[in-house]
Amino acid sequence: MKARLCILFLFIISFSECWMQIADCGLLKSEIRNPKSEMSRDAAIKLFTDANEKYMQASKLIAARNNQEAEQKLKDAALQYEIILLNGYKNGQIYYNLGNTCYRQGELGKSILNFRRAQRLMPRNTDLDANLRLVKNSTEDKEVSSEVPVVIRRILFWFFLLNQNELIILAVSLYVVLMMLLFFLIILKYSWLKRIIIGFSTGLFIAVVSLGVKGYMEHAISRGVIITSKCQVRYGPGEEYEPKFEIHDGAECVIEGEKDNWYRVYVYVGVKQDTRSKTSGEEKVDKEIRRGWLPKKNVDII
């Protein structure tokens, strides 16, 4: 019984690894055939390398206090990154490098926007997290953090460590293995296979639910980043409405609806409560949602 389990386990593991490789190759092949992507991989790599080189040169120029030339190099690098992306060739590295370039150019909002986009594709990248944290700390609006607690991140690690495509591959892998197990169960009628099937079914269920939640969070909820230095959030969709509050470059908001050229958004703001006592000496900060309308031109959707 144990020997059979071990053999099955080894078989499944080897199958999964093969499957991941196959899926990876499949991705590459699909990209070449992808009608949306007008740019070949070679062309993207060439442009990407060129943009990286410009960024590096700009960094050296900044160190040498030659800001004017550095600015031009950064501008060129950003343009090349954007060309790759506009041609439908999307990769976390490109977004990350573009975020870095925008930060160097002083465009905090665009930098956060691109880091957030990169985060969807590279959720495990720690450099990206560090850079995003740094840029967020540089913004004027110190909004209340809506980060998921570490405990939950650890418990639901697959959800936070895998991007949408990886979750799909995981779910499909589990599905294929489950089907194989079902096939063997039907043919060979080993009763012990039922327990393994229950395990894989549970795994598949969790993967599918995670995929659904991830898809909902990434596609059904529109999040935006303010890309202008100052943005007045008004009571209604138009200049005739009074400004309600003001947010600045890099502030993140959730878009609830739109009308004409205006988005209805809400943002989380920290409201300090003066609850200082002699004993505690602590200051409580509550999270509050503030809603309003802002022009579409001031915000870019992640």
Binding site: S30, F48, I186
Partner: protein
């Protein structure tokens, strides 16, 4: 044997306990005379209590000589045993009630008692008998004497930073019901203060009256010199007096009992009282300049010092943690770091010490320990000893400065590895303070990514990939197919009717082929035999009946029951009858008729296959 051991153990225990009690009894035997008041009128009665502390088996003390009083009754003897914190104390009281007979000042003379050859004498008590007052108010007892407060210090003069014990005492006559005590501590500006121990409770006799005393003590450390004042302390409390109610009805009589009064708190009247102490003036002297050591940092008290190191064998540049513990009486919190005397400033690299303070005793005075952990790094290999440690303080008891010197401790310093000087911190005066943490000079983003191998297009969703779609559909189809195939096989093996039903058409086809072969050979008997068997066996398999039962009539009925059309049922019935007839008759018919019969049979079987 065990029984005897137990017996002796019990005896030894009893002897020890009683021996201990006897020892306690034998100690501190004294006689105390107290009165319930020392000013009274002719209408009052004086309660005199003679208490022998330390024993309960002494004879009654001699009754003191008292002028101006007559003994009404007594003695009422009470014995008391109390154990507080394991200390047994016993006493025996003799209470007399006296009636004054004349006005004036009288002295209750000393009383004596002899116990085991030791004679104890009580102190005399002054008592004054005054006129009977006219008003009822003035007849009430003098509460100022029954309840009062005192604030005092253990010394009137002190040096700056010297420990002074401030004592607040609340006196109230023993047995007086006091509740709701609210104490407001005095303001101690220009002093540092530390609470000393817990509240103390004891008895004290003043003017022949026994008082219960609550004492709160605080250690004060004057921070400036000159005449410093401690403001008065205040205490608020309630005097609870039980009042008897008038008994009006039998029910009142029933419930107007002390038990019910105590239980329901009724009949109690609270008299709020407030007592204020006087202010205290303390002369604080500055520390003398004469003999002041150079390394003196303001420590005042009585201190000692220990020093130790954790490691003796180190390499050049390795840290040695020097632990210096200063302990003693005084304001331990404000003690500064002891001085390290270096022969050469470049011998050791010194880092600021970390300190931890622990108050070890708060009972009488503030006593504690302050431990300094100082990291020193030897910079040369020829260093054999740690630096000399010096700590100076002013001892207010002797009025002199004292210096504790700890001799250097031996160390062995070996040559260290050559290190590249990496400048992580800003050089300057604060460099040493920031030694333990690498200072972040500037915050900057991490560099860009240049990994070309992973530069794939991640924009497209994987689910659109044909391979993924195939992987989703193919296994499902395989599993479903395998399921039905397996089930089919199982039924074929277990369900005879199903198996015959499934095989019927194939067998019928074989028989029809055989009939066709017979037609080709022009053997009518064999032809119709095959044709008849093909039809009959087919129907028998389909209805899971024996071939013999598949006669024309039976089959017609069964076919109609299964919903087959009447025309087909009739044709089948007719064919079966016709084929059997031809099979056994010599009228085989023409070849053309045989061919027609074969085609008819094939058509019928095909139709039946569709409908059954």
């Amino acid at each position: 044997m065990v029984k005897y051991v137990r017996y002796f153990s019990f005896l030894i225990g009893i002897v020890l306990i009683f021996g201990y009690v006897e020892k306690t009894f034998a100690q501190d035997i004294n006689l105390v005379a107290t009165v319930d008041r020392n000013v009274l009128t002719l209408n009052d009665r004086l309660q005199l209590t003679l208490t022998i502390n330390g024993t309960q088996d002494a004879n009654p003390p001699s009754f003191p000589s008292i002028d101006g009083f007559t003994l009404l009754y007594g003695p009422k003897i009470t014995a008391q045993t109390s154990i507080v914190n394991g200390v047994v104390s016993v006493s025996k009281g003799f209470t007399y009630v006296l009636q004054p007979t004349a006005k004036g000042k009288f002295v209750i003379g000393p009383s004596t008692v002899e116990y085991k050859g030791k004679v104890c004498t009580s102190s005399p008590i002054n008592v004054e008998v005054v006129d009977t007052p006219q008003s009822s108010q003035s007849a009430s007892p003098d509460l100022e004497k029954l309840v009062f407060v005192e604030l005092s210090t253990d010394k009137n003069e002190a040096y700056i930073y010297e420990q002074v014990v401030l004592s607040f005492k609340f006196y109230f006559q023993k047995g007086l019901p006091i509740s709701d005590i609210d104490y407001a501590a005095p303001a101690t500006k220009n002093f540092m203060e530390e609470k000393l121990g817990d509240q103390r409770q004891y008895e004290e006799i003043r003017g022949g009256i026994a008082y219960s005393v609550l004492e709160l003590r605080t250690a004060l450390f004057p921070m400036v010199s000159g005449e410093l004042a401690v403001s008065p302390a205040r205490l608020k409390c309630n005097l609870v007096i039980q009042q008897r109610r008038q008994q009006d009805t039998p029910i009142d009589n029933l419930f107007n009992d002390a038990f019910f009064d105590d239980f329901f708190g009724r009949g109690q009247k609270r008299y709020p009282m407030e007592r204020v102490t006087g202010a205290i003036s303390l002369k604080v002297k500055p520390l003398p300049d004469q003999g002041k050591p150079k390394d003196f940092n303001g420590a005042v008290g009585s201190f000692n010092m220990d020093a130790s190191i954790k490691t003796q064998h180190v390499k050049v540049g390795d840290p040695i943690t020097l632990s210096m513990s200063v302990y003693g009486d005084g304001n331990i919190q404000t003690i500064s770091e002891p001085l390290l005397v270096l022969n050469n400033e470049k011998d050791f690299k010194l880092y600021p010490a970390e300190s931890s303070t622990q108050i070890t005793n708060r009972d009488e005075v503030i006593r504690g320990r302050k431990v300094f952990s100082k990291v020193i790094e030897p910079q040369k290999t020829d260093l054999k000893f740690t630096p000399v440690i010096m700590f100076s303080f002013f001892d207010p008891r002797t009025g002199q400065y004292k210096t504790i010197t700890k001799e250097p401790m031996p160390i062995v310093v070996e040559a260290g590895e050559q290190e590249m000087p990496i400048q992580l911190t800003i050089s300057g005066s604060n460099a040493l303070l920031q030694k333990q943490q690498a200072q972040i000079l500037i915050k900057d983003i991490l560099p860009i990514m240049t990994n070309l191998s992973s530069l794939r297009n991640q924009g497209d969703s994987v689910y659109k990939n044909p391979f993924i779609i195939a992987c989703l559909s193919f296994p499902a189809i395989t599993v479903i197919a395998s399921f039905f195939i397996t089930r089919h096989k199982e039924r074929l093996q277990t369900d005879i009717g199903y198996a015959r039903n499934k095989r019927a058409h194939a067998i019928a086809k074989k028989r029809l082929a055989k009939a066709q072969f017979a037609l080709f050979n022009n053997t009518p008997a064999e032809f119709y035999s095959s044709l008849s068997r093909a039809m009959a066996d087919y129907l028998a398999d389909k209805f899971n009946i024996s071939a013999a039962s598949a006669s024309g009539d039976n089959v017609s009925v069964l076919l109609k029951q299964r919903g087959v059309g009447d025309d087909i049922a009739e044709d089948v019935s007719h064919c079966l009858t016709n084929f059997d007839y031809r099979r056994f008759s010599k009228d085989g018919g023409t070849k053309n008729e045989m061919d027609q019969s074969l085609k008819l049979a094939e058509q019928l079987i095909t139709k039946l296959e569709r409908q059954l």
